[in-house]
Point group: C3
Chain length 371, copies 3
């Protein structure tokens, strides 16, 4: 079951350049992205209306304003219109491909796969650091996980897994993760779920000491703001005892990252990472270390999630049981269910529900009623 | 949906020799071919009636008159009869495998997967050059395309793709392909569709200059005769201005080739190529160049068709729109539909219709009513 | 269709050691095995009750008494109980995984995937050599065949395939296998089918001469006792003319082996081999030769069975015809059908019948009524 009426990250801005089209499956729909001469990103259905060939296998044409199908040479511009059908003067009116609303913001290309009339760029989640130049990017990355969107949201809303899955870059102190204090809340307008974790007086992880010298133990925090588009996170630590949780959180190590989660198919999901720091500014060696640590961390998640998904597919009829730490994931699931219900109310017959992921969604939601 | 009552190429003659059986899936039916001592080709169901083992994994026995199952040693002769069941004197009457009518002609082994009572070798399409010794083979080839039969027929009936797909050996002049004059007709007895293309005053392609010296530009033609068995093609060129289209077409470069198209499964197709030339006779270097150019050309088609098929499978609910150049493909589809209807009328319950390819067939046929 | 109320080999004892858990799919159920400090083998559902993660991807904990989930650290002991849910003091009562009855005997770990109340270790088939120290192990092996359980039972109950499939280690005399005298019977309590083959005055196979010097030709026998758990076999040979069949069978070469057959999924099966000899005692070189010969032999079977299964899946609607040599396989199938019927009578709605293997089972059983 896909939530179509939503902004998703379709690509890192750096992926859409160099004059080549980019193919990406989004919510089960094949999309091709390309950048036009006015520096805008166009998003077309990646399927020529003539014979179904993927347009992403073709090349830019018409001075970069259109894509040429590699089979019979038909050309489609950013509006989806066919502007050239080789060998005939009149182009059939039906010869056009679908387009999708896109909006580029903060180094990310956002796409709305649902009803275009509802697409408002103002609804795109702002990244936590805004335009503040005191935050510098340390890395961005793209992965495709062979696990469904809902399972990855579930993963990011329950950080208790850090103690077990992430043994290297971001752990630092398993005991502290085990004993972290957690607070969970959903926004009044039901657009975000907030999961906050406090890890007082703990050992800093390698990710924090790569570019900063603490005196010793630190007070550490993680604030994750989840939405249907992904997760906006703010994490960091300051020397222990300086009041990091309640105070201004100045100094120390602070990281803000956004994780864009975009359903590819029922059983696979795009995972976009974009992270900034407020320390070691200008130090590219530190940035590289942070990025390497982050990529290793996400590979640890990928390994877990793909094994979990395969097992859930094999054992669909067996139940699951939730724990206290799942409250963030369960609130997120309630939020998603409300959005899906609203979309279904707007377009009752818009889609079939893929059985496998709907079943897994239902299993992960067990215990919802009890919260 | 397979058309069973039809002659298909099952193999190049050169593939059925050397004493080893050849396995080939034809219209969803596993077939094993072997050559008997009287130099005939036998075609059996490739499945031992005893326990289902592929006979093609076994070996020839009984002085080459039979195939021995590699599991329990049962032997089946060219009539499908079991002539030896090791360990028992009496062979059950039901212990026999299906056979298929085969006919070898012009270096090709033809097979009829449908009702044997209807199989008449006189219906096998004659190759264009007949027995004329002035035509010499330059190459034969076998491929398996992961795309359905109907899509490959569609490809060969619309040659406007040459301008875009075939950039090397057979192109020569994209502009000329773009502007080619085309004529399409279906035979009165509805057995063949003829697509004729004229490319006057164009640059010759590498395939033509490999073994012939033109004065400069040429008048070029392509005449494709499609049937349910494949495509008989006649293409060539003479020095521009000598009246190649209306005249005798003597001299210059002339190629005749036959493309046998045989459904393997619903989503894959055997592609047999057999080509002759009337120039550079006896020159094996020229023949080798022509064959290399042809193989590269067919790989270009394969690349396109497999990507197209995968995309059509993913987007089955979206329509397609035809162009003027599709008229040959659409007439061919009408011809095939008539043959399928006739077969269904003879054997109403003979087969289920595989959903995926029927759907793609329907999409490719869009616009049929409007022609 | 799985027979759940049955003892199956889950692992060689040697596979469950070293402190690492072992994952194994049994009758479609994911199982994880591990050895506890009291040297017992525990068998748990290989799926954390919290979020479905395979526990086999985790590690032993609680001094080896429990398994720790690699995702959120939950710990499950041999009883299936969760003994630690990190981050919370109270563990939900539903947070436990299934367990399976296990029993270790004669270097094999046995598991009962069905109703635990019916699991009686006394029903585990005794290995032919009992505890007799005059029999020494020459090898054990584990394979996974991509072919269903029923087809492998069928293979082992009809040894006439030795003449064709097994050309090397265990053949020795194709003619003798071709002419072997066979006797088949089913036990009164319908727990075993016995297939006995006599090969008088034949050439010994390499497997027999690897560690024993015969005078020349031998009298050879094979006695296979098949049950739903696998096959207990006794084979051997003595110098020809000494009355091996009716007499004491002393001296010569004697091998006893047990083949454990355990359904993994509908279309795959675990194949466990455990073999002992009563000759060349203490000679490890001979043992290694025997094991190598056996492994090569089983690979020959695997090759055949996987090709047979693939073909049967493709041609499910075509019948099969049985021969006289199939009487052992057919009696075995009757035995299995009785056990399946009895299980279905005890638990009418316990399981769905997978279509593909049920169809193949039905085809292999053709001719049952005629026996």
């Amino acid at each position: 079951m896909f939530l179509f009426d939503n902004w998703y990250v379709a690509a890192l801005s750096s992926e859409v350049s160099g004059g080549a089209p980019l193919a990406r499956m989004i919510c089960g729909k094949p999309v091709v992205l390309f950048r036009t001469p006015d520096n805008r990103v166009a998003a077309l259905e990646d399927r020529c209306m003539h014979r179904g060939m993927p347009l992403s296998a073709g090349k830019l044409c018409a001075e970069g304003r259109a894509l040429q199908c590699p089979y019979h040479g038909l050309e489609f511009d950013a509006s989806g219109a066919c502007i050239n059908a080789p060998g005939q003067a009149t182009i059939p009116r039906a010869m056009r491909v679908l387009t999708y609303p896109v909006h580029e913001q903060a180094d990310l290309v956002w796409l709305w796969p649902g009803d275009p009339a509802l697409a408002d760029p103002a609804d795109i989640p702002a990244l936590g650091h805004g335009d503040d130049p005191q935050w510098q990017m340390f890395g961005e990355a793209y992965f495709e996980f062979k696990a469904p969107w809902g399972m990855i949201l579930d993963n990011l809303m329950d950080l208790s897994h850090i103690a077990y899955v992430h043994v290297a870059a971001i752990n630092g102190d398993p005991e502290a993760h085990y004993n972290a204090r957690m607070g969970v809340s959903t926004d009044e307008d039901a657009k975000c779920v907030h999961v906050k974790r406090a890890l007082p007086n703990c050992n800093p992880p390698p990710q924090y000491t790569a570019g900063y010298a603490f005196k010793g133990r630190i007070d550490r925090w993680q604030e994750f703001e989840g939405s249907a588009s992904g997760v906006n996170a703010w994490s960091g630590g300051t020397d222990a005892g300086t009041g990091a949780f309640e105070g201004s959180r100045e100094g120390g190590v602070q990281l803000r990252h956004f994780t864009g989660l975009t359903p590819a198919t029922e059983g696979s999901c795009h995972y976009f990472f974009h992270g900034v720091r407020n320390f070691a500014l200008g130090d590219e060696q530190v940035a590289a270390k942070l990025k390497a640590g982050l990529v290793a961390t996400l590979r640890e998640d990928q390994h877990i999630l793909e094994a979990q998904y395969a097992r859930l597919l094999e054992t669909g009829s067996r139940p699951l049981v939730s724990l206290a730490a799942d409250v963030g994931g369960l609130q997120m699931r309630r939020l998603i269910n409300r959005l899906l219900d609203a979309e279904a109310a707007r377009r009752p017959a818009a889609q079939a529900i893929p059985v496998a992921s709907a079943n897994i969604d239902a299993m992960l939601a067990l215990g919802l009623a009890k919260q």
